[in-house]
C-alpha cells in the first residue's frame, strides 16, 4: 500500500468513519454542553485540536521511551492524564502570554479539556497497542499517531461545529414545548449519528 494512501486512510478513518462523537460516542459531554452557540463551539474545537495533537505527541514519546522500555505499560492512564493536565496548563499560560485574543476566544474551554475523555481516548488509541479497533494499523509510528490524532480532533471539531450551527437554528424552529432544548438535541444527535454511519465501509474501512 502506498504510504500517502495509508496516511489518508488513517486520517479519514479517524475523522469520519470512526468519528469519536457520533460513531464511538466518546466526548459527549462537551458535545452537548458547548454546542449551544456556534461561537463557543468553534473556540472549543480549536482548543481541542491544539491540545489533542500536543498531548498525543508528548505521550507517544513517553510511551516509547519511558513506559515501554521499563515494562511499566500499566501506568499509561495515570501518565497520560498527568501529561494532558499539565499540558493544558502549559498551553494556557503560553497562549495567555503570547496571544490574548486567542486566549479570550478559548477562554474557559481550555481548562475544561483536562477532563475531556475524547482527548485521553485519542491519545490512548493512537499509542497503546490493543486499543485500536480500526483495522488500519496497531502500533502507530510517530507520524501515524500524529495524523490519527489530527483526524480525531478535526472530526470532533467538525461534528461540534455542525451540530452547534444546527442547534442555533433549532432555537428558532417551532418545536413542541416538551422537546425544546436538550431533548431535541439528543434526537438530532441520533439522526446525525445515523447519517455518519453512511461513511462505514468507505475505502474498505
Amino acid at each position: 500500500m502506498n504510504e500517502v494512501w495509508r496516511y489518508f486512510l488513517i486520517f479519514f478513518g479517524a475523522m469520519m468513519v470512526y468519528n469519536f462523537i457520533l460513531i464511538r460516542f466518546i466526548g459527549l459531554c462537551p458535545f452537548f454542553g458547548i454546542s449551544n452557540r456556534l461561537e463557543t463551539s468553534i473556540g472549543m474545537s480549536v482548543s481541542v485540536v491544539f491540545v489533542m495533537v500536543m498531548a498525543s505527541s508528548v505521550c507517544w514519546i513517553l510511551w516509547n521511551y519511558v513506559l515501554d522500555p521499563l515494562n511499566i505499560e500499566f501506568l499509561y492512564i495515570v501518565t497520560f492524564i498527568l501529561v494532558i493536565a499539565s499540558l493544558v496548563q502549559f498551553v494556557e499560560m503560553i497562549i495567555k502570554n503570547t496571544s490574548p485574543p486567542l486566549y479570550k476566544a478559548m477562554g474557559i474551554y481550555l481548562p475544561l479539556i483536562t477532563t475531556n475523555c475524547a482527548v485521553l481516548a485519542a491519545v490512548i488509541e493512537s499509542i497503546v497497542p490493543g486499543f485500536n479497533k480500526m483495522h488500519v494499523a496497531y502500533n502507530y509510528s510517530f507520524p501515524e499517531a500524529l495524523v490519527f490524532t489530527i483526524g480525531v480532533a478535526l472530526g470532533f471539531a467538525l461534528v461540534l461545529i455542525l451540530f452547534a450551527a444546527m442547534r442555533e437554528r433549532l432555537e428558532l424552529a417551532p418545536i413542541p414545548k416538551f422537546f425544546r432544548g436538550i431533548p431535541i438535541a439528543f434526537i438530532a444527535a441520533a439522526l446525525y449519528s445515523l447519517a455518519f454511519m453512511g461513511f462505514a465501509g468507505m475505502f474498505g474501512l
Binding site: L62, V66, L70, L75, T79, L82, S86, F90, K96, N97
Partner: protein
C-alpha cells in the same frame, strides 16, 4: 513480588511528574502575565457560580470586563445590590443602588365602572380571550381579568381586587417582570418601587369615546400635562404616561385629573397588599374619608395644591 517493577514505576512516574512540574513552574515564571490586582478582588466579590446571567461565560470574564470598564459594576444580576456595591467600592465608582422594580397594572376599570359587551366563557386565559374578540369587556385596552398574569407569577402576588380586575400585591412582588411579558394588552409595567403616582389607564380612545367604555378612563385631556411642574407626564396615543425619571410623586396631576384615572398609592402598615390606591385629597368628598395621600410617600411639593 517483583520489587524492581514497583521501584521502576514509582521512579518513572515521579520523574515524569517532577519534569512536568518543573516545566510548568518555569513556564509560569517565564510567561507571567501582569494582571490587574482588582480583577482578583472583583472576582472574590462576585458569587463565583459562573451562572452566565450577565451574558459572559464566567465570573472571571465578568470580573475582567468590570475592571476594563466594559461592563458596569451592576453587571451581576444574581448578586443583586450587595455585589454591585462591593464592585463599586473596588472600582471606586459610586453605584446608584439598584432600584427595585414592582409590577403595576395600568387599569382600574372594574365591573362597576366599565361595562361589558359580552359574557366570555372560553379558556380562562387573557391571551385566548384577546384572540376571541377581546373577551367580555367592552374596553379594548383594559384588564381582561383572567388568569394569565396570576398563573405565571412565581410568588402569587397577583390577585383580583373587589372590582374584578387584577391587582399586584407589592409586598410579595419581586419585580421579575414575567407578568409584564405575558399580558396580551401590555398593561403591566415594571415601575420603580418609589413611584407612588400612577396613571391607571391605557385607553387609546379619547374624550367621550373613552368615557363611554369606562367611567374612570384617561380621556387624553392633557390637564395633567399642563399642571405638572416637572414635565414628567405626557399624553401620547390618547393616554397619559408618566416619565418615572422625572416624576417627584407630587401628585399634582392626580389632583387635576377630571376622571380619576391618575391615582396615588398609599402604603399602609398592616394592609394585606401593602397599601392601596386612593384619589388625591381634592377628591376627598368622592372617596369618603379614607384618603391621606401624604402618608408614606415623599412629596416634596406640599404647597402645590394651593397653587394649582
Amino acid at each position: 513480588m517483583e520489587w524492581s517493577l514497583v521501584w521502576k514505576a514509582v521512579i518513572a512516574l515521579a520523574g515524569t511528574a517532577a519534569l512536568l512540574g518543573v516545566v510548568l513552574a518555569v513556564a509560569s515564571r517565564r510567561f507571567y502575565v501582569e494582571l490587574d490586582p482588582r480583577v482578583k478582588e472583583v472576582l472574590k466579590a462576585l458569587p463565583g457560580s459562573n451562572c452566565g446571567a450577565c451574558g459572559l461565560p464566567s465570573c472571571e470574564a465578568a470580573a475582567e470586563a468590570v475592571v476594563e470598564g466594559e461592563a458596569p459594576p451592576t453587571i451581576c444580576k444574581a448578586g443583586g445590590s450587595d455585589v454591585a456595591e462591593a464592585l463599586g467600592k473596588i472600582m471606586g465608582v459610586e453605584v446608584e443602588s439598584l432600584i427595585p422594580l414592582l409590577a403595576h397594572i395600568h387599569c382600574r376599570g372594574g365591573k362597576s365602572v366599565s361595562p361589558i359587551k359580552a359574557i366570555y366563557q372560553g379558556v380562562n386565559s387573557c391571551r385566548a380571550a384577546e384572540t376571541a374578540m377581546g373577551g367580555g369587556k367592552a374596553c379594548p385596552f383594559g384588564c381582561i381579568g383572567l388568569q394569565d398574569c396570576a398563573d405565571i407569577c412565581p410568588v402569587n402576588a397577583i390577585a383580583f381586587d373587589e372590582e374584578g380586575i387584577r391587582r399586584v400585591n407589592i409586598k410579595k412582588c419581586t419585580g421579575c417582570g414575567l407578568c409584564s411579558d405575558i399580558c396580551p394588552r401590555n398593561l403591566i409595567e415594571m415601575v420603580p418601587a418609589y413611584q407612588t403616582v400612577f396613571v391607571r389607564c391605557k385607553s387609546r380612545y379619547t374624550g367621550k369615546k373613552a368615557l363611554a367604555l369606562c367611567k374612570v378612563a384617561c380621556i387624553g385631556c392633557k390637564k395633567c400635562e399642563k399642571v405638572c411642574p416637572h414635565d414628567a407626564i405626557h399624553v401620547e396615543d390618547g393616554f397619559a404616561t408618566i416619565d418615572y425619571d422625572k416624576c417627584t410623586n407630587c401628585g399634582d396631576c392626580a389632583d387635576a385629573c377630571p376622571t380619576g384615572s391618575i391615582q396615588l398609592w398609599v402604603e399602609k402598615d398592616g394592609h394585606p397588599e401593602g397599601g392601596e390606591f386612593v384619589l388625591p385629597k381634592r377628591k376627598k368628598k368622592d372617596n369618603g374619608e379614607s384618603s391621606q395621600p401624604e402618608t408614606g410617600s415623599p412629596r416634596p411639593e406640599e404647597g402645590s395644591e394651593d397653587a394649582s
